[in-house]
Symmetry: C2
Subunit: 137 residues, 2 copies
């Protein structure tokens, strides 16, 4: 990737449209396999910190504070490339995910699918969720 | 995929958590290449219609109505698999995208990336946006 850079935020911010809560949606995708890992939210500070450090930081809507992914669980995301969509209210984060993105211990949060008229689990945990400190993912 | 099925919505709906506007986020990903195409929104009716018809329908927040992807632009999305995330407020739609997902004519709406401290276009239009009827994508 580009080296982590505080100046990158200055280049990006004019293109962003934060919502009424000051957030943009952020989709995390494993950079080499293409697997979509999760969808979360970023405020301005989270965007700035992610670009400055190269470690993905979200804004937790439930805890109302910055959420440095993996800080307590160890399941961190290293930023590889940050993309922005046409209208500036969504980001695509190409990342290198350590372990499981999901607090349930699955690699991806999207582990359930509609199949034959039923909602079924299509992935199993790769990490024991008990080791991930509850809700932190 | 599972054949389009109205009953699939009944299986899915208990797992969904619509936001205060009655919406869930929906990420569309090309099913075979893994390319993330766009992020949009669905209300209950859009989810039901998508599962019933196999053609992806969103809810347009700007137009405040159902948005049958490709209905006017021709750039439709056929649903292959619908997944839901751990907390039920985001969907991952594995789709087969006809042409360009973006109203700008690019395959993906995420055609800009931060590189070397600058925001740069990393994809070019594959369809002339003038043929896509303006804002409809």
């Amino acid at each position: 990737m580009s080296a982590p850079s505080p100046s990158a935020a200055a280049a990006l911010l004019p293109a962003l449209k934060f919502d009424r809560d000051g957030l943009v949606a952020a989709v995390a995708q494993q950079h080499d396999t293409g697997e979509v890992l999760m969808l979360a939210w970023m405020n301005l500070k989270a965007v700035e910190e992610t670009l400055a450090t190269g470690q993905v930081t979200y804004f937790s809507r439930s805890r109302e504070k910055l959420w440095r992914k993996g800080e307590t669980s160890g399941q961190a995301q290293r930023l590889v490339v940050l993309r922005v969509d046409c209208d500036g209210d969504a980001l695509l984060l190409l990342v290198d995910q350590t372990g499981a993105a999901c607090h349930t211990g699955t690699r991806s949060c999207f582990f359930r699918a509609v199949r034959d008229g039923k909602l079924e689990k299509v992935a199993v945990p790769i990490v024991d969720p008990k080791t991930l400190y509850g809700a932190e993912a």
